[in-house]
C-alpha cells in the first residue's frame, strides 16, 4: 500500500503504545484499517482507526481533528460511539465474528484493535469465481448466521453486511468483519453514499434513523450477498428498486429463483428472495427464522409460497416481453393478459398493502392454498383457452391512466409517510442532541469540579509542607535556644562556684586575720602586764610583726602586689605566717600566677614551723600535684635554709 494510495493513513513503522503500523489494509468512509504488530505479544493485529473523512482530517502531527468547529461536536459524538461499539464487541467471543482485543484513544481519535484474520475476502473470491455452488455458499452462510444471531440477540446490528466484510480463513471458515455502527453514529446529517453499500443495503438504511432497522436489515445484506454469489452480480440497489417499484408497474430486480433456477435448491433461492423483500416487514424477522427457510424446515413453509408467488409473477415478467406502453401497444396487442402483472405490482410496494399482508397471513392454511392453487389453475386454463379479445384501445388507455393515477396516489402516500418519518426522526435527533449537550455540560462540570478539587488538594499539600518546614525551623530554633540556655547555666554555675571559692578563701583569710589580731592583742596585753612603771617608755612592736600585719592588711585589701612585696622577704626569713600567706596567694593565684608547686613548698615550710593550717593545706595541694612534683618540692623544702 503506497502512501499515495492512502494519503490520510499513518505511515508504516508509526508506533502507538506497543503497536507498530505495518501497512494499510483498507480505507472506508469512516476510517482506515491497518495491519499492525503487537510488539508485546509479537503478533499481527488489525487496527481500525476512526477517521470519518467527511467531518475530520489528519494533520501533519498525525492527530485527527474535525474539519471545522461546527463539525467538532459531531466528530466527538461519533468517536464516543466508535469507542462504545468497540467495548460492546469486545464482549463477544465467537469464531465467526471478528475478535476485538482492545480500544484506545490516541492522536485525537480512537483505535480498535482486532484479531488479524489471514485468508481471503469473499468479495475477492467472488471476483475470481463469479459464483459459488450451493454447498460452498452454505458453508459460508450458515456459520455467519450463527455469529450474527449471537449479535442480534445482544441487540447489536451489523448494518454493513456485504462480501467485502466476510472473510474466509485458510480453513474455509468465515468470519464477519467490520461491525460498522460508526455510520449510525454519524447521524442523520451524513451523506447517503457513504452510509450504505449499494446493492447490499436495504431501503430502510437509506434513512438516517435506525428506528426501522433491525435483524431484517442484516438479513437483507446477507440475502444480497447470497444473491451476488449465485447471480454473479449484486442485486439492484434499494433506491433503484424503490424507483422501479414506485415509478412503474413492475419490480426490476430479477428474483434469485429465476437467476439460480436449476443450479440451486428451490428452498435456498426462495429464502434469498424472501430476505430481499423490499419492505422490511415482509422479510424474515430473525436469523433463526431465515435459517429455517434456508434449510427447508417446516416452520418456514408459510414464507416460501408467498415469495414463490411473487417470484413467479416477476419471473413471468422477465421471460415474457415487457408490457407494452400505451404508445407502443397500440399496434401490437399484448400477448399476456394484464391481470398477473397488476397482481404482482399490488403485492410489492408497501408493507401494509393488503395483498402482501394477505399473502403472508393466508399462506399458513393448506386448505386455502389448495383453493388458491385450483383457482390459479382455472385462471391459467381460462387464459390459455380464452380467445384473444380485441379490446378498444381507448379503454386500454383509460385503464392504464387509471393505474397511473393509482400509482401516483400510492407515491404521494409514501411521500407523506416519508415526511412524517423524517419529522419524527428530526425530533428524535433534536432530543438526542439535547441529551448529548446535557451530558457534555455535566461532563464539563464534573471536570471543572475535579480540577478545583485537585487544585485545592495541591494547595493543602503545599500548606502542609510549609507548616512542616516552619515546625522544623521552630524546632531547630528551640534546640538552639535550649543549648544556649544550658551553656549559660553552665557558665553561671561555674561563675558561682568560683565566687564561692573566692568567698571561702576570703573568709579563711579574715578568720586568720582575726586570729592574728587576737594574738596580737593578747601579746599587747601580755606586754602591758609587764609594762614598766609610769615614766618608763613602752617598748616598740617588733618590726617583723609590724611588717607581717601590714602585709596581711594589704592582702585583706587585695593589694596583692604590695602584700607580695611585704610578705615574701618575711617568708624567705622563715616567718611561718608570711609563708602561709604567700602559699595562699600562689594557691589562689592572687597577684601571682597560680602555681601549686610553690604553694605546696610554702605550706610545707610553714608546716615545719608548726602551723596546723599549713599542714592541712599542704596535704590538699599535694593531691593536685604529680608524685614526682611533690618529691621535687619536698627536696627543696628539706634543703631549704631561711635567708
Amino acid at each position: 500500500m503506497s502512501e499515495q494510495a492512502y494519503p490520510d493513513a499513518l505511515q508504516p513503522q508509526y508506533r502507538m503504545h506497543w503497536y507498530t503500523i505495518e501497512r494499510v489494509l483498507g480505507q472506508g468512509g469512516f476510517g482506515i484499517t491497518y495491519l499492525a504488530r503487537d510488539t508485546n505479544l509479537d503478533q499481527l493485529v488489525a487496527i481500525k482507526e476512526y477517521l470519518p473523512v467527511e467531518v475530520a482530517s489528519r494533520r501533519a502531527d498525525a492527530t485527527v481533528r474535525s474539519r471545522s468547529e461546527g463539525q467538532r461536536e459531531r466528530y466527538r459524538w461519533g468517536l464516543d460511539r466508535f469507542i462504545q461499539e468497540a467495548r460492546t464487541l469486545a464482549r463477544f467471543d465467537h469464531p465467526n465474528i471478528v475478535r476485538v482485543h482492545s480500544v484506545f484513544e490516541h492522536n485525537g481519535t480512537a483505535y480498535m484493535v482486532m484479531r488479524f484474520e489471514e485468508g481471503d475476502n469473499l468479495a475477492a473470491l467472488l471476483e475470481r469465481r463469479s459464483t459459488l455452488p450451493e454447498r460452498d455458499l452454505l458453508r459460508i452462510l450458515l456459520p455467519i448466521l450463527d455469529g450474527l444471531e449471537l449479535m442480534h440477540n445482544a441487540g447489536f446490528i451489523h448494518r454493513d453486511i456485504k462480501p467485502d466484510n466476510i472473510h474466509i480463513r485458510a480453513d474455509g471458515s468465515p468470519v464477519l468483519l467490520d461491525f460498522g455502527s460508526a455510520r449510525h453514529a454519524l447521524g442523520k446529517a451524513h451523506t447517503l453514499t457513504i452510509l450504505v453499500a449499494p446493492g447490499y443495503a436495504p431501503f430502510e438504511q437509506y434513512h438516517s434513523s435506525s428506528e426501522n432497522q433491525g435483524p431484517w436489515s442484516d438479513i437483507y445484506g446477507l440475502g444480497a450477498t447470497c444473491y451476488r454469489a449465485i447471480a454473479g452480480m449484486p442485486p439492484m440497489d434499494a433506491i433503484s428498486r424503490s424507483k422501479g417499484i414506485l415509478g412503474s408497474t413492475r419490480e426490476v430486480l430479477v428474483p434469485a429463483r429465476n437467476v439460480g433456477s436449476g443450479r440451486y435448491s428451490a428452498q435456498l433461492l426462495a429464502a434469498i428472495d424472501h430476505a430481499l423483500e423490499f419492505v422490511e416487514k415482509n422479510r424474515p424477522q430473525t436469523v433463526a427464522e431465515w435459517r429455517r427457510e434456508i434449510l427447508g424446515e417446516t416452520s418456514a413453509a408459510g414464507a416460501a409460497p408467498a415469495v414463490a408467488d411473487r417470484s413467479a409473477a416477476a419471473a413471468s415478467q422477465q421471460v415474457t416481453p415487457p408490457a407494452p406502453s400505451p404508445a407502443a401497444g397500440q399496434s401490437a396487442p399484448s400477448a399476456v393478459p394484464p391481470q398477473p402483472a397488476i397482481a404482482a405490482h399490488q403485492a410489492l410496494p408497501r408493507a401494509d398493502a393488503p395483498v402482501a399482508r394477505r399473502g403472508w397471513s393466508g399462506a399458513r392454511t393448506p386448505v386455502a392454498w389448495s383453493i388458491a392453487g385450483a383457482a390459479a389453475a382455472a385462471i391459467a386454463i381460462a387464459v390459455f383457452l380464452w380467445p384473444p379479445i380485441d379490446r378498444d384501445p381507448e379503454e386500454k388507455i383509460r385503464q392504464i391512466q387509471k393505474e397511473l393515477e393509482r400509482t401516483k396516489e400510492l407515491l404521494k402516500e409514501r411521500d407523506t409517510d416519508a415526511k412524517t418519518r423524517e419529522k419524527l426522526l428530526a425530533l428524535l435527533a433534536e432530543q438526542e442532541e439535547a441529551k448529548r449537550r446535557q451530558e457534555d455540560e455535566a461532563r464539563k462540570r464534573r471536570e471543572e469540579q475535579e480540577k478545583q478539587a485537585q487544585a485545592k488538594l495541591r494547595q493543602e499539600e503545599e500548606a502542609r509542607k510549609r507548616r512542616e518546614e516552619q515546625d522544623k525551623l521552630a524546632e531547630a530554633k528551640r534546640r538552639q535556644q535550649e543549648e544556649a540556655r544550658k551553656r549559660l547555666e553552665e557558665k553561671q554555675r561555674l561563675a558561682e562556684a568560683r565566687l564561692r571559692k573566692e568567698e571561702e578563701a576570703r573568709k579563711r583569710l579574715e578568720e586568720q586575720q582575726r586570729l592574728a589580731e587576737a594574738a596580737r592583742q593578747a601579746e599587747e596585753q601580755r606586754l602591758a602586764l609587764t609594762q614598766p612603771p609610769a615614766g618608763v617608755r613602752a617598748p616598740k612592736r617588733p618590726p617583723e610583726a609590724e611588717k607581717l600585719a601590714q602585709g596581711e592588711a594589704a592582702l585583706a585589701r587585695r593589694e596583692y602586689e604590695k602584700a607580695y612585696e611585704i610578705l615574701t622577704p618575711l617568708a624567705h626569713g622563715g616567718n611561718s605566717r608570711a609563708q602561709v600567706r604567700l602559699a595562699e596567694m600562689y594557691a589562689g593565684g592572687m597577684g601571682v600566677s597560680k602555681n601549686n608547686n610553690q604553694a605546696y613548698i610554702w605550706y610545707s615550710l610553714a608546716a615545719q614551723g608548726g602551723s596546723t593550717t599549713a599542714r592541712t593545706e599542704r596535704d590538699r595541694i599535694a593531691r593536685l600535684l604529680q608524685p614526682a612534683e611533690v618529691q621535687q618540692a619536698d627536696t627543696v623544702v628539706q634543703n631549704w635554709r631561711p635567708r
Binding site: S593, Q598, Q626, P627, Q632, T635, N639
Partner: protein, 207 residues
C-alpha cells in the same frame, strides 16, 4: 598496573573507612569511655614518667646554687620556654610553652610514633576499636616544666618535672591528660640537659 589500581582502591577504601569510623567514634564513644581512656593512659604513662625521672630527672653539678639557677633559666629560655613563676631564694622556676616545645615537630612526631601503638593498647579496653583512631595531637596543649635547684654538699642538684596542660579549661570533674608520652619525656630531658651542659660550658668553661 594492577598493583597501582589496588593501591588506589585501598587508599580510597581506607579513607572511607576512616571517615565512617570517625563518625562512629564521635557518635558512639561515651563520656565514660573517654574518662576511662584518659585515666588509663595517665596511669600507664605516669609509671614510665616516674621511672624516667628517677633515672635522669636530677643531676648534680659542681656549681653554686646561684649558678645552677641561672643556668636553668637560660637553658629554658633557649628552648623557647617562657617563665611563668620563679623564686631564686627557694631555687624554683616554672616555665611553659605550647606543645610540642621544648621538642620540635619532627621530634614530637618521632616520639608519638614510638609511643602510639602502646597508647592504643592502653586505651583499647576502654574504647574498643576506636582506639585505632587515637593520636598524639600537640594542638591545644601546653608543656609546663618545673625546675628546682638544691644545694648539696657535693654541689648543686638540678631537677626537672614536666606535665601537659590543656589550653582550654577541661570539663569540670573530667580527668586531664597530664603525662607526656614517655619517649617525649626522654627526648626533652636529653635536650634540657644538653642545654644546661652547654650553658655551664659557655659560662664557666668547665669540661
Amino acid at each position: 598496573m594492577a598493583a597501582r589500581i589496588f593501591r588506589v582502591l585501598s587508599s580510597r577504601r581506607l579513607a572511607a573507612g576512616c571517615l565512617v569510623a570517625a563518625l562512629l567514634m564521635s557518635g558512639c564513644v561515651t563520656v565514660e569511655d573517654k574518662r576511662c581512656a584518659v585515666e588509663a593512659i595517665n596511669k600507664e604513662f605516669r609509671r614510665d614518667y616516674e621511672a624516667i625521672l628517677a633515672k635522669d630527672g636530677t643531676r648534680v653539678f659542681p656549681v653554686s646554687r646561684a649558678e645552677a639557677y641561672d643556668a636553668v633559666r637560660i637553658s629554658m629560655a633557649r628552648l623557647r620556654m617562657t617563665v611563668e613563676a620563679q623564686d631564686p631564694v627557694l631555687g624554683y622556676v616554672n616555665v611553659f610553652a605550647p606543645a610540642p616545645l621544648p621538642l620540635d615537630e619532627k621530634e614530637w612526631k618521632q616520639a608519638a610514633e614510638a609511643d602510639l601503638s602502646r597508647a592504643r593498647e592502653i586505651i583499647g579496653p576502654c574504647v574498643g576499636l576506636f582506639a585505632h583512631f587515637f593520636n598524639f595531637e600537640p594542638q591545644g596543649l601546653e608543656i609546663t616544666i618545673s625546675g628546682t635547684v638544691v644545694e648539696l654538699p657535693s654541689g648543686t642538684a638540678i631537677s626537672f618535672t614536666a606535665r601537659m596542660r590543656e589550653i582550654a579549661p577541661p570539663r569540670t570533674g573530667f580527668p586531664r591528660r597530664e603525662y607526656l608520652p614517655p619517649t617525649a619525656v626522654r627526648m626533652a630531658l636529653v635536650k634540657m640537659w644538653a642545654e644546661i651542659d652547654r650553658e655551664f660550658k659557655a659560662t664557666y668553661r668547665r669540661p
